[in-house]
């Protein structure tokens, strides 16, 4: 292959080669690997950049203070899921408090608090209904209706009514009695 017949890499392509040679198209990579001019250009730029890093490192002052680690050994520190002792204590107390509140409210929550008005209403209805039954009279009509129907006259008793209109059974019995007397006689 005649690399000297191919165009040399441009400035941008040289920079691209310094950044990452594998990003170049394969013909350019191939040219770069064989062309001394392009290779030198790339090397020069890469060397300048490397030199910059070398000088920077060389002229940086030396740290006079060493790094100090805390006295307490990391392995011996008490920790649970990265929580310190005080945080763990606080978390434990919080959980205990939540459990206590939960347990305390369990008996209250077993009574259907939400339906209290319903069951008290039912109880009241039962009570008044039973009271009405207890107070119920044989003739429960109000006085005015009793007067109209004649039920309120004290002289007209049941005995009197039986006298006026004897019941059918009584009549038959009396007739039967009178007949028996007749046969006996």
């Amino acid at each position: 292959m005649r690399y000297d017949k191919e165009p040399h890499l441009s400035e941008e392509e040289i920079i691209q080669a310094v950044v990452d040679e594998t990003d170049l198209p394969s013909p350019m990579r191939r040219h770069l690997s064989v062309c001394p001019v392009c290779g030198r250009n790339k090397e020069r730029l890469a060397n300048r950049l490397a030199q910059l890093g070398d000088i920077a490192r060389a002229v940086t002052p030396v740290s006079l203070k060493g790094v100090t680690l805390p006295e307490k050994e990391r392995g011996k520190r008490f920790s649970f899921w990265g929580m310190s002792r005080s945080r763990l204590l606080f978390a434990g107390l919080s959980v205990a408090m939540i459990i206590a509140v939960f347990l305390w409210t369990v008996p209250l929550r077993t009574v259907p608090q939400g339906d209290s008005s319903v069951w008290s209403d039912d109880m009241w209805e039962d009570y008044t209904f039973m009271k009405e039954i207890i107070e119920l009279k044989d003739v429960a009509l109000p006085q005015i209706y009793l007067d109209i129907s004649g039920e309120s006259f004290p002289t007209i008793t049941e005995e009197f009514m039986d006298f006026l209109v004897p019941p059918a059974e009584t009549k038959d019995f009396e007739q039967y009695e009178s007949k028996e007397v007749q046969y006996a006689v």
Partner: protein, 214 residues
């Protein structure tokens, strides 16, 4: 307890700790509560983290304090690291977040005005956070000045990607993980940053000349 080299660790070859598998073992041991293993990790990354902070604050004192805080945070949060293989990226991420918080706090009183990020940063340096006199040679001063001038011309993301790649020496995949960006996004920012770097003729010429150490 200062993290120093104990007698046991003197026999330790830190070069071997560079291998990912060894580092992973150390991270696993540290996660299990092995303080010594974490100390080895600190020793291994102490310089890198200090430098990372220094390139972004230009203050030795702040870099020392922030490095301390970064490792303390890593020590405390190590149990949260799910994948020990990604310790390096995880540590750098903590460091970058801490530096960002620090810079935000430093800029806070300046928010009342119309300062841009760069102007605010300039004021921070004027307040004495950047102390070029601390450096031994003029070449060093010149280097930091040139680097700062160049970095100011980059956007925030370009600057971060450029520093992570060429100064902190992270791979593109690692940068993507640290910044939570896709690799193609990282490459795009890097491409733009290098393009700007290439056009900084004075800075490039300065680097070409090298730095003569005192």
């Amino acid at each position: 307890m200062a993290v120093g080299v104990s007698q046991d660790r003197q026999h330790w070859e830190f070069d071997t700790a560079r291998s990912e598998s060894h580092e992973t073992i150390l991270v696993r041991m540290a996660k299990a509560g092995d303080r010594e293993a974490f100390c080895r990790l600190v020793e291994f990354y102490e310089k890198s983290i200090f430098r990372l902070v220094y390139y972004r604050t230009y203050s030795q004192m702040d870099s020392e304090d922030l490095s301390q805080e970064i490792f303390l945070k890593a020590f405390e949060k190590l149990s949260n690291l799910r994948e020990p293989r990604h310790f390096r990226q995880w540590l750098f991420k903590i460091a970058l977040n801490r530096v960002r918080d620090f810079k935000r706090k430093m800029k806070m009183p300046l928010f009342s005005g119309s300062d841009t990020g760069n102007e605010a940063e300039e004021k921070i340096h004027e307040k004495g956070y950047y102390n070029p006199e601390a450096h031994a040679s003029m070449n060093r001063v010149e280097f930091w000045a040139q680097l700062r001038t160049f970095l100011k011309k980059l956007s925030h993301r370009e600057r971060e990607v450029f520093l992570l790649r060429f100064v902190d020496e992270l791979h593109i995949s690692e940068i993507a993980e640290v910044l939570k960006k896709s690799e193609s996004t990282v490459k795009t920012h890097l491409y733009r940053a290098i393009h700007k770097f290439k056009n900084e003729q004075d800075f490039v010429a300065f680097l070409q000349g090298g730095i003569h150490e005192v």
